[in-house]
């Protein structure tokens, strides 16, 4: 698989180099890979903002894979209307494009915000981290209070969209059964599926804030 690699010190230094290191908002020298509560390493989708050209191929690939249709009993990719994608590319003017997807946060505010009591056996709330590290929602237990979506909106990238009818959370990254289709299909190599350094909090920001930083760096314009 392309663009799939371990996040090394070299990558970290590359990131630092782009735009004079301003991309790493909370960057300090040296890093730690993010892990879940049981110290399992979390791999997620990382964006190289210097490469994204805003074509939204990732959106169509994500939507097509995660919303399959059935033909003669076989599940195949749909046409991939980007509305249903879990990754979103936001366009800004002055021109920058900001792909945003669930960062599989180390300390997920969505789970913290969920008011449903943890299951006695599994320890899971309605919204929980699955074995594969993705954030999932148990629609049986979820009451559609939208606290998770609000937490994500206020504290991170705002990727969770409550279903318009049930108000239950949607659009969390599924990692496409281990082969993220956004990464696989990005024509510009802007996305990678990698172990995430803890200090690389850029991924977790709202698109507006990322755009602001990028615009300042690229065009030397304050917005």
């Amino acid at each position: 698989m392309r663009n799939s690699k371990k996040y090394s010190r070299r990558h970290f230094l590359q990131d630092m180099a782009f735009g004079g290191g301003g991309l790493i908002l909370l960057g300090t020298f040296g890093f730690r890979i993010i892990q879940d509560k049981e110290n399992r390493i979390i791999k997620a989708i990382s964006v190289d903002f210097s490469k994204c050209a805003g074509c939204r191929t990732c959106e169509t690939a994500c939507s097509a894979y995660n919303n399959p249709i059935e033909i003669n009993g076989e599940r195949v990719n749909s046409l991939g209307n980007p509305h249903y994608s879990n990754i979103k590319v936001y366009h800004f003017n002055p021109d920058v494009d900001v792909p945003v997807t669930c960062a599989l946060c180390e300390d997920p505010p969505c789970i913290n915000a969920c008011p449903i009591a943890p299951d006695l056996i599994t320890g899971r709330k309605a919204i929980y981290r699955d074995e594969n590290m993705t954030i999932k929602n148990d629609t049986e237990r979820c009451i559609g209070c939208t606290q998770c979506a609000q937490a994500c909106e206020n504290l991170r990238g705002g990727v969770i969209h409550p279903n318009p009818e049930t108000h239950k959370p949607e659009r969390m990254c599924t990692l496409c059964d281990g082969n993220p289709q956004c990464v696989e299909n990005c024509p510009f190599g802007a996305l990678s599926y990698i172990e995430m350094p803890a200090n690389r909090s850029y991924e977790n920001l709202a698109p507006e804030r990322i755009a602001q930083q990028l615009i300042e760096q690229l065009y030397n314009i304050k917005v």
């Binding site: 050209a53 195949v76 209307n81 936001y90 366009h91 003017n93 021109d95 299909n185 065009y219 314009i221």
Partner: protein
Amino acid sequence: MAVKGYYGKVLDINLSSGEINTLQIPEEDIKRFIGGRGLGTKILWDKLPGPGVDPLSPENALLFMPGPFSGLPIPSSSRTCVVTKSPRTSAVNPKYEHGSTVSYSNMGGFFGPEIKFAGYDGICVTGKASKPVYIKIIDDKVEIVDATKFWGMETEEFDNALIDELGDRKFESCYIGPAAENLVPMASILNTAARAAGRGGTGCVMGSKNLKAIAIKGTQSPQLGDHKRYLNLLSKVRKSFRENNTEGVEWWRYGGTANVLTTSSKNGTQAVKNYSEGTYGEIKEIGAAANREKVWKRDFACFSCALACKKSGIAKGSYSVMVHDGPEYETGTMLGANLMISDLAGLQKLIAVADDYGVDIISIGNTIGFLMEAYEKGIIDSKYLGNIELTWGNVDAALQMIHKICNREDIGDLACRGVKYMAQELGQDTNKFAIHVKGHELAAWNVPVHSDYWSICYATSNRGACHMNGGNTSGQNQAALRDSLAACNFASGWYRNEISYANFLSAITGLEWTDEDVDRAGARIFTLEKMFNYREGFTRDDDTIPPKFFENKFTFGDHKGAIVDKKAFYTNLTNYYKERGWDIKTSRPQNETLVDLDLSFTIERT
């Protein structure tokens, strides 16, 4: 039952009455005219009661047409074709006061795909709103919203203001600027503050309807005829972009069409000094390499495109300006080489200001070039121009002309109508260097070198002079087809063999299309446009090129002495008509040609 891959309906909005309907598209029309430019022209034909309709009257229809590829992630297939009756063109011997050609203008970006996502094969706007409005569309929820507060707003500012108003960045939109609001005939329609349906005065028609913008988003997808075949082709074409002609991909990413600024100049095919020369000595100053070094910071792609030919950056120097897209070959030539302007920041400023007004940069650059030549020849003076010293290479003077034209101030009120009109006003043989066909200005490719190709290309274009038309019948058919599918010309080289347009169209519709079938569809679309024009009073006399090309020899560069052989041109034109099955005297397509192309319905109406 619609053809698979289509919804079979076009959103039909009458801004006079406020009525919002959907227009059912006959299955037969979809099969014959495909989408985009072709289907748009057929709908226009049906909507207009007959020839001679004033293009700026409420009766004219303005169509925003995606194609069957739109919204599918088929790489580089995001074009939106705007089709209307042209406010730019007129016949040599007018049959009707408002006789004009069809106009179609094609823009990249994200707008066309979103029309498909909202569940339509196109949008048709007729009528005229009583005050400025914009149209807001979310699937089948369509609103006509007051836009009074946005009227007068330049495109750069409006691009952000509209998103603020909508409160949702996932809308895609297109809009006009002050030029269109002022009914400047050469006004354009823009999206993303840079990508333009620039040619043919589409913006002026939009302005005449008091329509500032359309914003759209949607949640739908059509059903395909052979879904699995489509998926298979999609994965193959994606692979092809990754593996085949990777230098080609890199070439587009490096410089976009600006790559050819220097090569075209070297080859003598560039419009320089109002088309007097084909080579510009200072072209390197404004070429792709100079821009890479000094201006461009980012490459941008349209929907599902791997080529990313649009460039953004900051220009600094004589002017400081945010660059959304520029120069590309056309804008860099028409406001650069053609005006002998080699000041890069100055050129960027001209492009940015023209885009901000929303004006066709090809036509305005051509018009300023014409005025510079008239000024040099002493036919007009600075007093006539409102105290502008309009000398070659003068950025400030060109900038003042853009302001005057887009605001229709003083000389601008005449000049905004283009070079044909200016030459009629000025007389004194100025028509000899008025570089237009049918009233529509030529683009940045000069004629004398490769004159067999370029003279036919410009002379026979159905929207008036057009560099994208193709210089022979097969190239023209292919272009008409691409514009109807919504495919991008720049990526056409990747669609070969199994991953052909015909095979994609077969998978989408579930009907079998061969290469010959799609070529015939291209010929049919081109011929329908021709019949539209013939009905409006355009004949062989209108299929010509400006006299300058028969009289002026290049004095500079590798192609010094190049000139067009008039006799050869007319022979080529006759042969062209013969190949098309058109009458060689009148240029009207012969009845058997029309029957053969399944265009019999045009016979009784001309």
